[in-house]
Amino acid sequence: MKKLIPALVLGLCLMGCSGANSPQIDARALARGSVAALNDAWVAAGDICAAVATAEKNDALRAQCQSILVPVYDSLHLAALAVDGWDATAQKNFPCLIKDIIMGLSQAKVLVEDTGAKLPQLVDDALALASSFAPQCQMSDGGS
């Protein structure tokens, strides 16, 4: 024990020093976390939208939610496949998929909040987390 403590301190110091040289978050880890968070937000938006439409017997609202959220699901699924593969093509396409998801979820948020319902904080948190990828889409597609 007497020898282990200095060894532990030195080992932790060495690990800490090497860690200090690479403070960046791994891109794949950030991508995975962003897709998982956006998916939670998508589920929350879909659940609340369906619940409000059912409670108000408002099929137009349900249809609007469906027309916004189904394409977002398709982009989420493609983004998840991109994370699972994470090759050069997947990394190139990922930011624009995230941008599509953010735009769709933002539309769904406005639609739900116009009914007086409120989406949970996790939706805004997911949008904020994933927003770091969106500018990379603008750079790769020429700023559309």
């Binding site: 080992g11 879909g46 699972d84």
Partner: protein, 67 residues
């Protein structure tokens, strides 16, 4: 040679004697850390999880509600 100097030499000798053990402890610690990182399984694929989680919501959104 004074007794203080002798004591100091004994202390240095003792510290040097422990140095190889200290290195061995560090190597063992690093090997454990590396071993743990290698043993960590890869995360499960994300796409099937999303399909499974979202199916119920997609079904719910596709059902017309009475107006």
């Amino acid at each position: 040679m004074s007794s203080t100097l002798l004591a100091l030499l004994a202390l240095i000798e003792s510290a040097l004697g422990e140095f190889p053990q200290l290195l061995a402890d560090i190597e063992s610690l690093i090997a454990k850390v590396k071993g743990n990182s290698v043993a960590t399984p890869p995360p499960p694929p994300l796409a099937p999880q999303i399909e499974a989680q979202d199916k119920a919501v997609l079904d719910e959104l596709s059902k017309p509600v009475g107006s």
